[in-house]
Every structure is written in C-alpha cells, then in structure tokens.
C-alpha cells in the first residue's frame, strides 16, 4: 500500500484517541464486574446483635458465642487474673488501650471492659484472623514458658495476648483484640453488637 499523501500526525492522533477512548470504555465496563465482588446487600444487612446470658458463666471460665460470623469470647475473670493485669504493663504493646479502633471508649482501661470481671472480646487474632485459644493457666504448666502470666495464645502464628486481650510485644499480631460494642441489659444478660439503649447498631 502506498504511503504517499498520508498525514502521519493525523494518523497518530487518531490512533491515540481511539486507544484512549477504548481504555476508558474498558475501565467503565470493568467497574460493575469489580464492584459485584463486594459484599452483597444481604451480607451487609446481616449482623444483628446477639443477647448472651452469662448467669451460668463460672469464675475463670470462658463462653464463646457467634456474632456476625465471628467468635466472641466472654470471660469471667478471677481476682488473681485481674491482679495480674497491671503487672503485665511493661510487656505489652498498648497496655492502656490507646488505639481507638480496638475498643469502644468505655473499654479504654486496663480491664478493657465495662465491668472489670467480665471480658468481652472478639476471638479474632489481629494478625491474620485465627481464633486464639485460651491459655489461662499461669506458668510452665501452660506450655508457654515459666513466666507466662495467663491469657490467650494464637496457635496459627504464635501471637500472645494477656487476660484483657492486650497483645504482648514481639509477636506477629500488632494490635489488642477488638472489643465489640456491647451493653448490659441486666446484670447477667449482655447484648453483643449494640451499645445504644434504643435501636440496633
């Protein structure tokens, strides 16, 4: 084919223009496919609060309930467990719960709870989302060394938390366990997932 009389500048311009328009078109066309992978309306609507009766929860015992598909740990802490909490401070990343995202304001204390005895935390390791297991036994009997002060141990990657779900230094997990919003409906009935008197969160 003869190249005589070809306006190269115009040709380049048209090629660039059509390529540009085509690319924009592809981006627009891809958008619905990408967005379709986000949580659906049904998934977003799920997550109603759950009410938990803790009247049968004995001292030193833990209860596991599901909320929004995640395990929630409720622990009735003993006096000894509570006394140990202030001794852990120097070993912890965030002993005074300063990181706002990890708990509601009413749990910004060393107990990380509304009532010191009852701990309510999400059983979701802040490293990669495993459910840490209870390691309440103190000392060598726990298998975590003679200095183990009691708490939670995540088997997946070895993250350790104390009895308030506060993360120890030098483990893979960066943050304390999440405290979900919760409230006491009565002394023995906890509503997990909502902390407002009216309406669900």
């Amino acid at each position: 084919m003869s190249e005589d009389g070809v306006d190269r500048g115009k040709r380049r311009f048209l090629i660039a223009l059509t390529t540009g328009v085509g690319t924009v078109g592809i981006v627009f066309a891809a958008t619905p496919f990408v967005l379709s992978m986000n949580p659906s309306a049904r998934a977003r609507a799920a997550g109603a609060p759950v009410d938990v009766d803790i009247s049968k929860l004995e001292l030193g015992q833990m209860l596991v309930v599901a909320w929004r598909g995640k395990p929630v740990y409720i622990v009735n802490r003993t006096k000894a467990m509570l006394a140990q909490l202030s001794n852990n401070v120097s070993l912890l990343v965030d002993p005074y719960s300063k990181v706002k995202s990890q708990q509601p304001p009413y749990a910004e204390n060393i107990y990380r709870a509304r009532k010191p005895e009852i701990l309510v935390v999400l059983g979701v390791c802040t490293h990669l989302g495993c459910a840490p297991s209870r390691a309440f036994t103190v000392g060598a009997a726990s298998g975590l060394g003679a200095n183990w002060p009691g708490g939670f141990f995540c088997h997946c990657h070895g993250s350790k938390y104390d009895m308030s779900g506060r993360v120890f230094k030098n483990v893979p997990a960066p943050l304390n366990l999440d405290v979900p919003p919760y409230m006491y409906l009565t002394d023995t009935l906890i509503r997990v997932g909502s902390d407002k008197k009216k309406g669900a969160a």
């Binding site: 949580p39 659906s40 596991v64 395990p71 990669l128 495993c130 990657h157 070895g158 030098n170 960066p174």
Partner: protein
C-alpha cells in the same frame, strides 16, 4: 490417508505443527532424570482438569451443602472416591513435580539467557498454581479449609489504608462465608484453569522458540551439521516421547500407590482437621496449610517485630553502603539512597505484620529475577565452582526445613537448641540471601571450562 492429510494441511498447518514441535523438534541428546518433570507436570495438569470436571458434576458450591456433597462423592457416587483422591493426591503431586522441575532449572541454568521468558512464564505458572491450589482447598468446606482461607485472605489486611476493604472485596463478606466459597469455586474451576492452560501454552511456545537447555548448559544450536540440524540434537519424537512414557509409567505407579494406600498421606495431603465441617467458632489447634505452602508460611511466621526491625536495619546499612561504594554512577547512587530512605521510613511506620507479608511476597518475586541475578559465565552446575554448589545446597536444605517448621508450632523446639521461630528466621535469611547475594557469589565463583559438545554422565 495422504490425501486427507493434504486436505487438512491446505486448511490447517497440521504437518507443520507436528514437525516443529515433535518430529523435527531437536532436543539435546543428553537429557537425564531431571528432564522428566516437564512432561509429568503436563500429565498432572490433564489429570486435574479431567478429574475436576467429574467432581463438579456432584459437588455443591454452597456453605450449607459443600461438606456434605464431598462426603456424597466419597461414599455414594460410583467411583467418586477414586476420582476425588486422584484430584486431591494429584494436587500434591503437581507441587512435588513443579518443585523438582524448578530445581532442575537451578541445577542446569535453564533460566539463563536466552531462556529468561520461559523462566518467567514458569514462575507465573507457579503463582497461578498456588492460587488455584489455595482456592481449591476451600471447596471441601472443612475446618482447615475455612481457617486456612481466613488466614490467607487476612494477609491483605496488612496493607495500610486499603487492606481491610480489599480483604472484604476478596471475601465478598465480612468473614469467610458462602459468598467466598461460591466465588472461589468460580475461580478454581473456570478462571484459573484457563489462565494456567494459557500460561503452559506460552511456556512451551517460548521453549520451542529457543530450544531446550541440557545438563551441560551449552547451546546445541551452535554446532550444526551440514543439514542444519544440531549435531547434539535428536528429534523429540520418537526419542523423548518414548523416554517420557517411561517416566509416566513410573510416576503412575507411585501415584496409584499413594491413591490406593495412603490417599491422605497421614494428614499431609488431606489434613485431619478437614474431615470436620467448617466451624466459625473454633480454629483448629494446629493450623497449618498443606505441605507445599509451608515453606512460605514459615517465612510469614518468622516476622516478629525484632526480626523485621533487625533485618530492615541491616538492609538499610547495606543499601546505604552500596550508595557509597557503587561504581555504577550517579543514578545508582541516588536510587540506593532513596531505597535506604524508604526502608528507614517503613521501619518506623509499618507493622511487623506487613513486613511478614512483604517478606513472603518477595520470596516469590525474587524467583522472577533469577535470570538477572545469576552472573556466572557458565550455566550448568557441572562447571560451576564450590560457591554456587554450596549456596544451592544450603538453599535447598533451608527450603525443606522451612517447610518442616511450617507444620510445627513456632514456640516448640522441633530441631535442636532453639525455638522453631528462631530457626525459621535463620532459614528465611538463607532463602533470601541465596537470591540477594547471587550476583556477587556467582561472579567470583571459580568455574570450569565448558565443553564444546554435550557429554553423558
């Protein structure tokens, strides 16, 4: 018959393709044991696709039905147990073969110029295969499936700002759920197999363009006879098709033995916790990925705060040192300073968790750069010096031990003296060092003279 072939050849290059890729594709005549694994990988790919198709006939990608449908395949579907075991054992064998195939590359320099693209396509196949295996492992909806997916998807949350949104987007929910299972099914049975087949195709096209390497690491195309055929080349068909059939026969004997006598390989190919349905309230006590992921999993677990900070400090010093001593000119100096600055900044702003993910990611990314990291004048290990031989040996041992440690608790003592996490940190350094230091030790390594023609050993 000839007429039929001629009729087809006028419309489709049948004879041409046959000749170019089989009957007149000249491969070096000194292929040894290590050259079985390419064809075996192809065989296992076909096995996975065929058994996979038959599994989808009875499998239900639904969180409420998935676990039951797998049991249905195992107990009620005629020969369903065999097809499923062929698929699950096949997945593990795929990785055995691919790892050996990659090791062959390291032995004989198959990644070196002019085969860089073959290597890169191969590395992409490896990545796609890992994604395929990971998504497939969720489908039985056992407890290990569930928690494995939970952990791996949570890796995305380590990315600052967008991480949580990204993880939610991948899951399609706030936790691993029915939506996740359903989409993983779509990726596992359609999207990724298509990608894999396409990558295998370009891997082979690139291979046949430049020709196969060989255990001597020399180019047979440099010595051609008067007929233009490499003197050390023999036609792939019938010579290597027959050889590969021997490999296939032996492989199928091993494969069948595993399927019939140890399909779960004592919990290594099918984990014990996966015989329990997914339970969102309880993580298996010892959560471990399948064996082929454990080396990388070990590296992820090795990243405690002290370790990553130590490593970052050392690499900052090294890069900064490079800026002073490099002879590459101003651009290289500026680049080194910028990298050092980024590392320092990252050390103070990013969490150890993210560095763990970055470390695991770079352990795979580094594989892609191998053709350019290797500066040795020779390709094959036969003519390399003690430095590369030593480095490769230590690397292989570290990789295997990282894999072993990945199946153990980080706080236990499984080797000797130190806790597993410390050993994992040491081996992670060796793994990364094998790649990062490669330009240096391959360059100063003493090499032997390379022969003109291929040899048989």
């Amino acid at each position: 018959m000839e007429k039929l072939i001629a009729w087809i050849d006028d419309r489709f290059p049948l004879t041409k393709v046959w000749n170019e890729h089989l009957a007149q594709y000249y491969a070096p005549k000194n292929f040894n044991f290590w050259y079985y694994f390419g064809s075996l990988a192809l065989l296992v790919l076909v096995n996975q696709i065929v058994t996979g198709i038959f599994l989808t006939m009875n499998y239900k990608p639904d969180a409420a039905l998935a676990f039951g449908s797998v049991q249905y395949i195992m107990y009620d579907v005629s020969w369903g147990w065999l097809i499923r075991y062929m698929h699950s054992v096949g997945a593990s064998m795929f990785f055995v073969i691919v790892y050996l195939h990659m090791f062959r590359g390291l032995l004989y320099g198959s990644h070196r110029q002019p085969r860089e693209l073959i290597w890169i396509f191969g590395a992409l196949i490896f990545v796609a295969l890992m994604a395929e295996a990971f998504m497939g492992y969720l489908l039985p909806w056992g407890n290990m499936s569930y928690w494995g997916a939970q952990v791996i998807i949570s890796l995305f949350t380590a990315i600052p700002y967008v991480g949580n949104g990204l993880a939610r987007w991948v899951r399609g929910d706030f936790v691993v759920s029915d939506a996740t299972l359903n989409r993983f099914f779509a990726f596992h049975v359609i999207a990724l197999p298509l990608v894999l087949v396409a990558l295998v195709f370009v891997h082979l096209v690139a291979l046949h363009k430049v020709g196969s390497n060989n255990p001597d690491g020399i180019e047979i195309k440099k010595k051609k006879g008067s007929n233009g055929i490499p003197l050390d080349g023999i036609p792939f068909h019938p010579y290597y098709t027959v050889k590969d059939i021997v490999g296939v026969t032996v492989f199928l004997m091993v494969f069948a033995a595993i399927i019939f006598f140890a399909p779960s390989m004592g919990g290594k190919f099918l984990e014990h916790d996966n015989f329990i349905p997914a339970n969102i309230l309880s993580t298996p006590l010892d959560i471990v990925p399948l064996w082929y992921f454990t080396p990388f999993y070990s590296m992820l677990r090795a990243s405690t705060t002290d370790f990553t900070h130590g490593m970052l400090a050392v690499s900052t010093v090294l890069v900064a040192g490079l800026a002073f001593f490099t002879r590459k000119g101003a651009m290289a100096k500026v680049a080194s300073v910028i990298i050092a600055a980024v590392l320092v900044l990252g050390m103070f702003t990013l969490e150890a968790k993210l560095w763990g993910v970055i470390m695991m990611g770079s352990s795979i990314v580094l594989i892609f750069f191998l053709p350019w990291l290797d500066r040795s004048p020779v390709k094959s290990i036969r003519y390399r010096g003690a430095l590369y031989k030593g480095a490769l040996t230590v690397f292989v041992i570290s990789f295997i031990l990282l894999g072993y440690l990945g199946t153990k608790s980080p706080d236990a003592v499984s080797l000797f003296l130190f806790k597993n996490v410390l050993w994992a940190q040491i081996f992670t350094l060796v793994y990364l060092g094998f790649f990062v230091l490669m330009p240096w030790y391959t360059k100063i390594d003493k090499t032997k003279p390379v022969p003109e023609r291929v040899t048989f050993k």
